[in-house]
């Protein structure tokens, strides 16, 4: 514990990579909240969005490529709603979940077929040289990656915007109503199809943001779709239905796994970072199945 500097650096790095997990988890939460569907395809959507953006940016100016990618993600949302959700309305959650697994593999394959399967560099114009903070306080300062800072700012504003949207607007209220009870929502005249289109489009845009952040860090490639697996413990920790939960869950997982690597890692020979989050999630499941911030499971007795 002698050197606080490196510990802080690890903690900060962990928190910021946690934000990146949160960005992916956010997409899951949005769709689960509004349609009760656990959208396994969120990771594939991240990959698809990032691939579209990076390939389009090769011919188009970046802002235009971004706009076209947003439109593509809305088109994906529309297609999924039309071809998958609408025919399966009223079916059991597990059936919808299986359907999204189908969508996952389709998007993974289709994306790589049309956009190519190499590793592409995504340059957001963010300086890649790290910043050193508090150099006067700690010897050598604390190393921070600008990309991580960028992701944190974006994620923070996304969460704020989404919370306002869900709790302060008519459409947001309707989204929560649909999440609670499809049929009742339909009976009061809330058009399910429009709501699903809105929510899948929003999740698509969140996927795009996540894809940009992850893509600029790792390069845009197939393994991007696997970040979805990292989002699972975040979801369990934060609760499937809570937007702030996705953020806090991400921070806890991000910081937790880095700190665990630092402190517990050496005792058992390292490598703890890869499974720590899952053990944490398991522990949370045992104690608090709805997650830290998930909606209480209301059961009248």
């Amino acid at each position: 514990m002698a050197e606080l500097g490196p510990v802080l650096e690890v903690l900060l790095g962990g928190l910021m990579s946690g934000v990146l997990y949160s960005l992916v988890a956010l997409g899951f939460v949005l769709i689960f909240k509004a349609s009760g569907v656990f959208n396994f395809a969120q990771g594939a959507m991240v990959l698809f969005a990032a691939l579209s953006l990076v390939r389009l940016a090769e011919w188009l100016p970046f802002p235009l490529a971004l706009l076209v990618t947003v439109l593509i993600m809305i088109a994906v949302a529309w297609t999924v709603e039309r071809l998958v959700l609408r025919p399966l309305v009223g079916q059991h959650g597990l059936i919808l979940f299986m359907a999204t697994i189908g969508v996952t593999f389709f998007l993974d394959g289709f994306g790589q077929t049309i956009w190519g399967s190499n590793v592409y560099q995504l340059d957001l114009g963010i300086p890649s040289t790290p910043w050193f903070l508090f150099e006067s306080l700690f010897p050598g300062g604390i190393l921070v990656s600008p990309v991580d800072v960028f992701a944190t700012v974006i994620a923070g504003s996304l969460v704020l915007a989404l919370s306002i949207f869900f709790h302060g607007t008519r459409i947001g209220r309707a989204l929560r109503a649909v999440a609670d009870d499809h049929q009742a929502a339909q009976s009061v005249g809330i058009p399910l199809n429009q709501i699903w289109l809105i929510v899948w489009s929003t999740a698509g845009i969140v996927a795009l943001v996540a894809g940009m952040a992850w893509g600029s860090k790792l390069g845009v490639q197939f393994s991007l779709s696997l970040v979805a697996l990292k989002a699972l413990p975040v979801l369990i920790l934060g609760g499937l239905t809570s937007i702030p939960g996705a953020i806090v869950g991400g921070l806890v997982v991000g910081a937790g796994e880095k700190l665990a690597e630092l402190y517990i890692g050496p005792l058992i020979g390292g490598g703890i970072e890869y499974w720590f989050a899952y053990v944490l999630a398991l522990a949370v499941l045992l104690v608090r199945p709805q997650g830290l911030f998930g909606e209480k499971i209301i059961e009248r007795v």
Partner: protein, 278 residues
């Protein structure tokens, strides 16, 4: 003067809802409604009676176009709401035109507060915040209990409060016709009386037409003006509420009364025989 004349003489009111010989099939094979016809005049309270599984809920869902989600389909006949074919309209368009259903078992949004629940009822409205706020106050005036619980999650309120919340939510859409499915389900008799009394007031004061599916025959016939009795997917009997209450068969089979002591089994058979042809 004219109003008095109209009430003294039951003039044939305009039909809010007409159901003409419909058949409903679930999953392409299960025939649930086998030719149901009925009419709900504007401004009335009409009861749809029958035992469990008679087809009451299916009838209501066919009207509000909510069958699709349960793989049900109207395969024959027609349903019109103020002359407009219902099957061409989505549930959303139907609510916009003033036909809304309060589903069996309340179906409040458990994770929304009571007030948010009520506001979702106004989803289809385009007449501005002020009008919606006025109607919210109107709903609270009819259901003062909802005002007390406005900030609590609907999932934590009592069954009676949830039923009130569901009816209030429907009122927020400014409906002309409310399809009320089994409002008495799981509620204490006193509470049920209270709810039916409010339904009657809404009918008189807010001019809302009600079509109520109910198992509790005596209760429904006390508050409705007309009744249809559904058995095995067919209307077996219909008439003015007062005459149904006096009907021997209704007394015997639905009200649990029998004026002339124990009936012999032959009479029951004759009733069943008659039913088959109706």
């Amino acid at each position: 003067m004219t109003a008095a004349a109209a009430s003294s003489e039951p003039s044939p009111a305009r039909a809010a809802l007409e159901v003409n010989n419909i058949e409903v099939v679930y999953d392409h094979v299960v025939l649930v409604l086998k030719g149901v016809s009925l009419a709900v005049p504007e401004g009335s309270i009409v009861a749809l009676l029958g035992a469990n599984g008679a087809g009451k809920t299916t009838t209501l869902k066919a009207i509000s176009n909510l069958l699709h989600a349960e793989r049900g389909e109207v395969t024959k006949g027609s349903i019109t709401f103020y002359g407009e074919e219902v099957h061409r309209l989505s549930p959303n368009e139907l609510v916009r035109r003033g036909c809304i259903q309060v589903m069996e078992g309340r179906h409040c949004f458990a994770h929304l507060t009571v007030e948010e629940n009520l506001l979702t009822g106004a989803f289809t409205r385009k007449d501005g915040r002020a009008a919606i706020q006025r109607d919210l106050e109107m709903v609270y005036a009819y259901f003062p209990r909802l005002k007390e619980r406005r900030k609590s999650l609907a999932g934590y309120t009592s069954g009676g409060e949830q039923q009130m919340c569901a009816i209030g939510r429907a009122l927020m859409a400014r409906p002309r016709l409310i399809l009320l499915d089994e409002p008495s389900m799981g509620l204490a008799p006193q509470l049920v009386e209270e709810i039916f009394a409010i339904v009657e007031r809404l009918n008189k004061e807010e001019k809302v037409t009600f079509f109520v599916a109910e198992q509790n025959t005596s209760l429904a016939l006390r508050h409705a003006s007309y009744g249809y009795i559904l058995e095995n997917g067919r209307v077996v009997l219909d008439g003015e509420a007062a005459s149904l209450r006096e009907n021997e068969d209704v007394k015997e089979f639905y009200l649990g009364l029998s004026g002339s002591g124990r009936k012999s089994f032959r009479d029951i058979k004759s009733y069943k025989r008659r039913k088959r042809w109706l």
